[in-house]
């Protein structure tokens, strides 16, 4: 019933005008011939469209309309109106109609797996089935992803499904499998980050088998370092590295937390040792020093504030701290500047951007030295 309407005989499908179940319907044509972007439909498509318009006007939701939508979708997979009516029919026909939709969407996916409507429909079906959809959806998306390892819709569908099923660990393993096949598959790296973020801090630590954030971070940095070692100039693990600090708690809410983590510095140094022209390593190294400069500048600011209220004997100590913080700011800026110079050599396409970052150091240094002067 959910298949392609009439069985396709050698002579092609039976015209709607000769199907008894459609005898009571009069096809509807458009009021006037079209002049603009007028598609010359095949005879089969044109006939089906006539019955389709009649159904749209009557608002009928039924088994035969469900079959007609299959035909409309076969003729144009992106016919979102047909997909919408199809879903309304499924709802009308009750829970039994849900199962066949899995086969129907599978057939469409094999034809073309890059289609918004297909995946929206499949998500509605999976949502209606609930957590027991897990195995079918895993197999369905796996098939699409094996065919195209970066299929955006398929990976997004997995995200929607895992939010229903809560099978986070399996999702992590799936992403890991595809990072293993191609360490440059950024979509798989994104999935790994999605899992960590969506499952939350607590579940993340539980999955690790107890332990604390520092322990989790250490193991994640090892994972990244192993990937970097395989292919140092692969952008994906580097983005993942900086992304951890920018988007996961507790690091995301602490400013410049990447620059508080000496292991990041080590990771860059090791990569540069293996590959002295590694653009992304210079980029991250510069980011590390930029953060150190910003943190030192803020500490200089704090020390300057303390200097104004410190009693006489404590003054000298505060001044020493202040001078040290300003010196650290300047030094970190110089190192960042040097790293970006190298990035410009290794990756010249992005020179306008590296220069943009370098021009920012003037402000940081001016701020820090200004604090020193005013204190």
């Amino acid at each position: 019933m959910s298949g392609g309407g009439a069985a396709a005989a050698a002579a092609g499908p039976l015209p709607y005008s000769r199907r008894p179940e459609w005898a009571d319907v009069t096809p509807v044509s458009l009021p006037a011939a079209e002049k603009v972007v007028a598609i010359q439909y095949t005879a089969e498509h044109a006939e089906a469209l006539g019955y389709w318009r009649a159904v749209l006007q009557s608002g009928e939701l039924s088994g035969r309309v469900l079959a007609l939508t299959a035909d409309m979708i076969r003729l144009n997979q992106a016919d979102y109106t047909a997909w919408r009516v199809r879903w309304l029919c499924v709802q009308q026909l009750g829970a039994d109609a849900l199962g066949p939709e899995l086969d129907f969407t599978h057939g469409v996916m094999l034809e073309n797996a890059k289609n918004y409507q297909l995946w929206n429909h499949r998500r509605l079906v999976a949502g209606a089935i609930g957590p027991s959809c897990a195995a079918r959806e895993d197999a369905f998306t796996r098939e699409a992803i094996i065919f195209d390892e970066k299929n955006y819709h398929a990976w997004a569908h997995r995200q929607a499904v895992v939010k229903i099923t809560g099978l986070w660990e399996a999702e992590l393993a799936f992403a890991d499998e595809f990072i293993g096949r191609d360490v440059r598959n950024n979509t798989a790296w994104n999935q790994r980050m999605f899992v960590w973020k969506a499952m939350g801090q607590e579940a993340r630590l539980r999955l690790q088998g107890g332990g604390d954030d520092a322990g989790w971070l250490r193991s994640e940095l090892e994972y990244i370092a192993a990937a970097v070692q395989k292919a140092p100039r692969n952008e994906s693990p580097w983005r993942y590295l900086t992304g951890l600090f920018a988007s996961l708690e507790p690091w995301a809410s602490s400013p410049r937390s990447l620059s508080r983590c000496a292991e990041v510095h080590t990771l860059c140094c090791e990569a540069l040792n293996d590959c002295p022209s590694c653009g992304p390593a210079y980029d991250v190294l510069a980011l590390f020093y930029e953060g150190q400069a910003a943190l030192s500048a803020a500490q200089a600011d704090t020390a300057a504030a303390a200097a104004t209220v410190a009693p006489g004997p404590a003054q000298a100590g505060v001044q020493v701290v202040l001078a040290g913080r300003v010196a650290a700011t300047i030094m970190a800026c110089e190192l960042a500047q040097a790293a970006l110079d190298e990035a410009s050599v290794a990756d010249p396409m992005r020179t306008p951007y590296w220069l943009h970052r370098q021009r920012g150091f003037n402000d940081v240094v001016a701020l820090a030295t200004g604090v020193l002067r005013s204190a």
């Binding site: 002049k35 972007v37 598609i39 995946w119 191609d182 950024n186 022209s277 943190l295 050599v345």
Partner: protein, 567 residues
């Protein structure tokens, strides 16, 4: 792409593409005169116009897969023609287009992709943008009150996730957010934008779509992607101007991701990390830069750390590692020599082993000959692989030699620093004037002249990519060499070219009179003067406020603000 000794699907696909592009850029090798290169980068304007004209009337049955996107086809065509400053074809009039668009209008508001289709935000954007581009009578053909009610119905309340749904029961993503806000803007529904943004929790939704990479995914959690990034950024600019953009997204990280999408050899943009470039991202990615240029340079850098949140202990600045990067060409040359040497060594050993095996076959030790022959075969196999690696290294060196960054090297750093200072001075002065307190200038000093901000990507390389690789000589533009031209890619390659020509601080590549396209509004991607005319038209015909119109209840058709009577 550097393979680092580990070929994977990604690197093999990328390197196959680079090899394919080689002859396109080798055409330009050996041109010494910087001016002469412009003669090789001509936009084939007339051929593009002829190609676009061929699509507006009758289309073959192959277009059935676009039957739900017909308003899009109209937009791709009329917008491309407008960028080129070309008229409509003789056989299709503006009235025909208006009649078609009206046939796609849904009685309850919005447009379907074709007649009798459900209203959908994306084809609604396309229909409205096409009508604005056609102008004149087309402006009055839109039932704005009904559109407004449709937009409001598509809002997903923040407590259900936020954003917009593309149609009733359809998917919700950043395309929906963008098309809704762009439609509201084009139709002059400025007073309703806040309501739309509030009902959809727009800013929160867009923020949730920014990923750890810095770009935006289609839905929260999805991978950063060029199309969605443009949609999210432009939606914020349309909803609340550059201020809302800066307040909502981590702009420095967005910029970082964005600049990394430009291919070193290709000059064009890819849509996602480690994917191939595609001409359409010339707009989806390249078009974000003009939006970012609305922000001050300091908003494009991370803010200072607030005094009290740095915490202690004191940051110890770690010593720098050995730094000594080599330029790509030197590296490639070195690698090629290494590989060729490895190949020659293996080849010599294999030949020697073959001789030994031959000798064994003839001599007394014939019973050992099988072993020797096998050893020789193995060495030959290895030599063949080494030869392949040597060839790959040679190709890579050739690719780097004609890379887009080599053909159009970056500007001088000092010049850019000066440019940023001039820009900052002008912006500060203009802001002071706007605030009603123009600074006192010393006698005889002129106020700082307007200056563009320094570029953040390589706009020349982007134009090179479009003109050299995406443009088909016979007319039309494409994803990349080897792909057929189509209307979608023609529209977005041209839109990207226009964006790169008009971006602040950019210049037109190729002969100016042949190549210069019209400037489009960077947020809605409709040619500037068409948008201005439309907004003026609608400003003179304001809709009654929402409460009065009762739009929230969904009643839409007819009534005040319906389509203007056609004469």
């Amino acid at each position: 792409m550097w393979e680092d000794g580990l070929p994977t699907t990604t690197s093999k696909t990328q390197n196959a593409l680079e090899k394919k592009l080689l002859p396109f850029y080798q055409d330009l090798e050996g041109i010494q005169d910087a001016e002469e290169i412009h003669d090789f980068l001509v936009l084939h304007r007339e051929n593009h116009v002829a190609y676009l004209h061929s699509g507006l009337g009758q289309l073959s049955s192959g277009f059935a897969v676009l039957d739900a996107s017909r308003t899009w086809i109209v937009y791709w065509l009329v917008h491309s023609l407008a960028l080129l400053g070309a008229p409509l074809p003789k056989d299709v009039t503006a009235d025909d287009i208006v009649a078609f668009l009206q046939s796609c209008q849904h009685p309850a508001g919005g447009y379907g992709g074709g007649p009798m289709q459900l209203a959908h935000l994306a084809p609604t954007y396309a229909a409205v943008a096409a009508a604005v581009t056609v102008g004149g009578k087309a402006l009055g053909s839109i039932d704005r009150a009904a559109v407004r009610s449709f937009l409001l119905r598509m809002c997903i309340p923040p407590e259900q996730g936020g954003g917009f749904s593309v149609h009733e029961g359809g998917e919700g993503d950043l395309r929906a957010c963008y098309t809704a806000m762009a439609v509201a803007h084009m139709l002059g529904l400025d007073a309703d934008k806040q309501q739309l943004a509030a009902r959809s929790g727009l800013a929160g939704y867009v923020r949730a779509c920014q990923t750890y990479e810095g770009g935006l995914g289609g839905e929260p959690g999805n991978e950063a992607h060029g199309g969605y990034t443009f949609c999210g950024v432009a939606a914020l600019v349309l909803a609340g101007g550059p201020g809302l953009l800066a307040a909502t997204l981590d702009v420095p990280r967005l910029l970082h991701w964005l600049v990394h999408r430009q291919g070193s050899m290709e000059g064009g943009f890819n849509g996602r990390t480690n994917k191939l470039v595609d001409g359409c991202y010339s707009f989806w990615q390249g078009g974000v830069f003009p939006l970012l240029a609305m922000l001050s340079p300091s908003a494009l850098r991370p803010p200072p750390v607030p005094q009290d949140s740095a915490g202690w202990p004191e940051v110890q600045v770690l010593p720098a590692p050995m730094m000594g990067a080599s330029p790509p060409f030197e590296l490639a040359e070195e690698e090629m020599h290494g590989r060729m040497h490895a190949y020659e060594t293996l080849r010599a050993r294999a030949l020697e082993a073959s001789d030994v095996a031959d000798g064994a076959l003839k001599g007394a030790a014939a019973r050992h000959s099988a072993d020797k022959a096998r050893a020789a075969r193995e060495l030959l196999d290895q030599a063949a692989k080494a030869h392949e690696a040597g060839e790959a290294a040679t190709t890579q060196m050739a690719c780097i030699n004609v890379s887009a960054f080599n053909i159009f090297p970056p500007p001088d750093p000092e010049m850019l620093t000066a440019q940023e200072q001039q820009y900052a001075a002008h912006v500060a002065y203009a802001a002071a004037v706007a605030a009603g307190a123009p600074p006192q200038l010393p006698e005889g000093t002129a106020p700082p002249p307007p200056a563009p901000p320094p570029p953040l990507c390589n706009y020349e390389a982007l134009q090179l990519w479009i003109l050299k690789c995406c443009q088909a000589t016979k007319g039309g533009l494409r994803d990349k060499p080897g792909k057929p031209v189509d209307f979608y890619h023609t529209c977005y390659c041209l839109s990207g070219l226009a964006a790169a020509q008009h971006a602040p601080g950019a210049a037109v590549l190729g002969p100016r009179e042949a190549n210069l396209l019209a400037r489009a509004d960077p947020a809605v991607n409709v040619v500037d003067d068409k948008l201005t005319a439309a907004r003026a038209h609608y400003a003179a015909r304001p809709l009654p406020p929402l409460e009065a119109a009762g739009a929230g209840a969904g009643g839409a058709a007819g009534g005040a603000g319906g389509p203007e009577p056609m004469t």
